[in-house]
């Protein structure tokens, strides 16, 4: 039997400064010891998780409208599963591939049991898993950042039940996966045991997040701040070095991958990481976000359409926390999330940056946490600030009355709006035209195997399952103009196409794609599903008798 010195092996002996304050003079709760064995935490988190999964999962295939990007990522996940490489068209370093590699792994078993289930609507179910894990991580992170139990629960509710979250987290977006990894990284960085390998793990999770969606890169400084605050000064240099090294080394695997494939730098006849990055960095801007009428303004409005509380109050909360840094314990504990929100907000305010609709996804958990934290701060100020034992009972009652009034007012504003959002999410059937169009293509076309059809990415997998040839038979519509490997199989341009499934996305983008536009112009609708802007038309191309 051997051991180190017992006087010091007792973990309580060097009870050094906690990164976040332990129970303060007003009985403010410190970070919990072990959440796993805390029954109230488990019950609260479990109940909220069930509620979130029900609201997010119910009707998940039919709402919101299938997005083109979802189709892209799932189709690439399908290509990975089928052993066709990282994409069924040439992989051109548009995004790091780790995101859809994870999707491929997540959908592996269902796709094996029933290959036809590998469609966007069905496979949205796996996003429930991702949302569930993220929601739990928000709770755990909240607790680790010294939020009281109710506030951590509030954060989880804000994150999981905001109508904006419900819409965006249902969709198969890489951002949702990246958010999960980022949350894991923050949770590990804030580990109460301050274990070297937890920080190392935080770095690995952060790198995974970046390789899932490269925009997570901008969040890393906030993660670093969190790790700094939660490490002990005696072991800090090792812990942080470990985190940074792990993150950097795993991150470098992406350029290494390109290097091994001989595609790091541009050259003739092959794609390159360099070009991919340059494309992303020089994407045409969508205008200033506060400039009425710009693309970014529209994106902002589309977020606020679903929910104003989380984005606006969350942003205000972040600013409040950053402003009260010097006085507020909560503000310092939540420095990481508040800084994340600040960074993301600053980037969104670039004069002419490219602002995609999913941009807000990566901010959602941090908005939720800072909003919950600010609420806790306000609650603390109302209920406990400058309170002592000698305080008159009427004053104490007054405090509780004020707190109750504030809580009621907030609920009165939020609950009806969120109730409407949730009801829309669980009842609306937004994808009926898509499903009908895909059924039509599967049953009414005589010879799918030799038919060439332009579709948007969201429907692509449906038609693959219906017997069309993936890639050159059923074609992502923009590849007909942008991918040399596809255009060279269309020497006669639009005449080599038999059908166009003109969904809103196809009609919107066709104006910049000559081949697609020509195919639409030289075709007649043979079936139309839905009405107005959202209709899906199946158009047969008039090839004027020519044979291929």
């Amino acid at each position: 039997m051997t051991s180190t010195l017992p006087a010091a092996t007792d973990p309580k002996v060097p009870a050094q400064r906690r990164a976040t304050p332990a129970a303060g003079p007003h009985g403010r709760p410190g970070p919990p010891g072990r959440l796993r064995s805390s029954r109230p935490d488990l019950v609260l988190c479990g109940v909220l998780l069930v509620a979130i999964l029900i609201v997010q999962g119910w009707n998940i295939a039919d709402y919101p409208t299938l997005s083109d990007d979802e189709g892209t990522y799932l189709a690439q996940a399908w290509a990975v599963q089928e052993g066709r490489g990282l994409a069924h068209y040439t992989y051109w370093y548009d995004h790091p591939p780790l995101g859809w590699i994870q999707l491929a792994a997540l959908t592996w078993i269902p796709a094996m049991l029933s290959p036809e289930s590998m469609t966007v609507g069905t496979m949205r179910a796996v996003m429930l898993l991702v949302s569930g894990v993220s929601a739990v991580l928000v709770y755990v992170l909240g607790r680790r950042l010294a939020l009281p139990r109710w506030a951590a629960g509030l954060g989880m509710v804000l994150f999981g039940l905001s109508p904006l979250s419900v819409v965006l987290q249902r969709e198969i977006f890489l951002d949702n996966l990246a958010v999960m990894w980022t949350l894991l990284a923050f949770t590990l960085a804030a580990s109460p045991s301050r274990h070297l390998w937890h920080h190392f793990g935080a770095g690995m999770a952060a790198a995974t997040a970046v390789l899932t969606k490269e925009t997570m890169l901008v969040v890393l400084p906030a993660l670093f701040v969190t790790a700094w605050r939660h490490s002990h000064k005696d072991t800090r240099k090792f812990a942080l070095t470990g985190a940074v090294t792990a993150c950097a080394l795993i991150g470098f695997s992406y350029p290494l991958f390109a290097l091994l494939k001989g595609e790091l730098f541009p050259g003739s006849g092959h794609v390159s990481l360099w070009e991919g990055v340059r494309y992303q960095l020089t994407r045409p801007g969508s205008g200033f976000i506060l400039d009425r009428g710009s693309g970014s303004w529209d994106v902002l409005q589309s977020w606020l359409y679903y929910d104003r509380v989380l984005p606006l109050a969350g942003l205000a909360g972040a600013l409040l926390l950053l402003a009260t840094w010097r006085w507020s314990v909560t503000a310092r504990a939540l420095a990481g999330p508040a800084l994340t929100v600040a960074i993301l907000a600053a980037l969104a305010l670039r004069p002419n940056g490219y602002l995609p609709a999913m941009y807000v996804i990566q901010a959602l958990p941090f908005l939720a946490l800072v909003l919950a934290g600010s609420t806790a701060s306000v609650a603390h100020a109302v209920l406990r600030r400058r309170r002592d034992r000698a305080e008159r009972r009427t004053v104490t009652y007054g405090r509780y009355a004020l707190a109750a009034a504030l809580a009621l007012a907030a609920c009165a504003y939020v609950v009806p709006r969120w109730y409407d959002g949730a009801r829309t999410a669980v009842t609306t059937e937004a994808n009926a035209p898509y499903e009908a169009a895909s059924r039509w293509m599967a049953t009414e076309v005589a010879d799918p195997d030799s038919t060439r059809v332009l579709v948007d990415d969201a429907m692509w997998l449906d038609l693959v399952h219906a017997g069309y040839r993936p890639g050159l038979g059923v074609i992502w519509f923009y590849k007909a103009d942008l991918d040399p490997a596809v255009t060279k199989t269309m020497p006669r341009g639009w005449r080599d196409i038999d059908y166009v499934v003109a969904s809103p996305t196809v009609r919107r983008d066709a104006k910049d794609l000559p081949n697609v536009r020509a195919a639409i112009e030289h075709s007649e609708p043979v079936a139309v599903f839905g009405t107005g802007e959202d209709r899906v038309e199946i158009r047969r191309v008039e090839t004027a008798g020519g044979t291929r």
Binding site: M1, T2, S3, T4, L5, P6, A7, A8, T9, P11, V13, P14, Q16, S193, R194, H195, L196, W197, H232, D234, T235, K237, F238, A239, T241, G242, T245, A246, L249, S253, L256, F257, L260, K261
Partner: protein
């Protein structure tokens, strides 16, 4: 295909080896609590144990007097110093006798073995020990005056049979290899050894090691034929379940110097490796009760050879990944050991910074540079020592190659011979 599988298997094996080594190397810094637990706890003022401090000295007249004087400055009240000199070494004997004449706490024991080595010398002195605890130091060690009081407290508060204190090479600025050598000691005594103590299998160091006299006599003292008698003693004691405690305080470590030349470092390392090999083949470690302990023992005793192997394979592996036509996934796997090596490198840089901080030494940019650039060359040296050790053991050459030392860590000038760090 076969090549790919082979490369993948080798790479993954190397990866796990390097990862485990790294994990153990970083043991002390895993959490702030672990770090705090590696220190001596403060003595309570009571002193109940008596010490017999063994000081084997061979042709070390230049530093011996200084070492004895410093040991006599210890704050502990109950100890004796037994200087062990050879019958063929009158100069050192004279210094020792002079010291004994000055202070009754110093005694001299003469070793009359025809072929001399350190374990034989210490076994000669063992019957003369009167103290409850036998401590071992080397003739050129600088010992902290408070050390004995702390060790006394450690024995009493833990009920340990063995207490191992820290040993640290200090002269990192002397050369590129002494920099790495110092850092090796830093990671070993600061961190790794504590893991061994915790797991119940420990190769002890060569000095600043304290054993209860009764336990040591029961174990039959040191193995006179083993080239790493210190490691062997630790393995034998922990294999029969003796409790070993390790404590490290930067101001309480015994300070030493690195070997004076590359050749002597190579010889020293060869001897240790050969000693580890001997300890491995003695199979005392097979008595360890749990499978995990036996694996740790096996791995630790084989480390020099695995290390040599790793050092040679990693560059080869990377070359294969870059220049041979293997699938991208396999190429990725071949990079895994290199990645672990890189992480180790980074932690070494941080370790050097911490070393400088702990010892109040100024580590300059050029030292970090030397650390990094010297890394591969040091690997070559280690690999050379490992190969040499195997070769010598095969040929049955088990004599001691002594290492020459200059007193770079103390003011006393002159060339001395020393034969046991760590």
């Amino acid at each position: 295909m076969l090549t790919s599988v082979f490369i993948a298997v080798v790479s993954l094996a190397l990866f796990w080896m390097a990862a485990f080594t790294l994990w153990w190397q970083m043991h002390a810094w895993r959490t702030p609590e672990v770090l705090a637990s590696t220190r001596f706890s403060s003595p309570d003022g009571g002193e109940h144990l008596s010490f017999s401090l063994l000081l084997p000295a061979r042709h070390e007249q230049a530093v011996l007097d200084h070492t004895v004087r410093r040991l006599l400055e210890s704050s502990h009240t109950d100890f004796e110093i037994i200087v062990i000199v050879g019958h063929d070494d009158p100069e050192t004997a004279a210094v020792a006798e002079a010291a004994a004449g000055r202070d009754p706490r110093v005694r001299v024991v003469v070793d009359t073995h025809e072929k001399k080595n350190k374990p034989k010398a210490m076994n000669t002195a063992l019957p003369h020990c009167r103290g409850d605890v036998v401590g071992v130091f080397d003739a050129e060690d600088q010992v902290h005056p408070e050390l004995l009081a702390h060790v006394d407290h450690a024995f009493r508060s833990t009920g340990a049979d063995v207490v191992q204190g820290g040993v640290q090479l200090i002269n990192f600025h002397s050369s590129w290899y002494s920099l790495r050598n110092c850092l090796e000691y830093f990671f070993w005594f600061r961190s790794r050894l504590h893991l061994h103590a915790q797991k119940g299998f420990i190769p002890l160091g060569g000095n600043t090691v304290f054993v209860r006299t009764a336990v040591l006599r029961e174990a039959g003292g040191w193995d006179p034929d083993c080239l790493a008698e210190d490691c062997d003693l630790g393995v034998r004691l922990s294999s029969v379940g003796r409790k070993v405690v390790v404590a490290y305080d930067s101001d309480m470590v015994t300070r030493e110097e690195t070997p004076g030349s590359l050749v002597s470092l190579l010889k020293q390392r060869t001897r240790w490796n050969q000693g580890f090999l001997q300890v491995y083949r003695k199979k005392d470690w097979k008595q360890l009760p749990t499978f995990g302990q036996r694996m740790l023992a096996r791995y630790t005793l084989m480390t020099p050879f695995l290390q040599a192997f790793t050092g040679l394979i990693i560059p080869l592996n990377v070359a294969i990944a870059l220049f041979l036509d293997v699938p991208v996934s396999i190429a990725f796997i071949t990079f895994l050991p290199a990645v672990t090596a890189l992480v180790t490198f980074v932690f070494e840089v941080v370790g050097l910074h911490d070393f400088g901080k702990q010892y109040g030494l100024r580590v300059r940019f050029v030292h970090y540079l030397k650390l990094i650039v010297g890394g591969p060359f040091y690997q070559v040296l280690l690999a050379g020592a490992a190969v040499r050790a195997v070769w010598r053991e095969q040929r049955g050459r088990t004599d001691w190659e002594l290492t020459a030392h200059v007193g770079a860590h103390i003011d006393a000038p002159g060339v001395t011979r020393e034969d046991v760090p760590a």
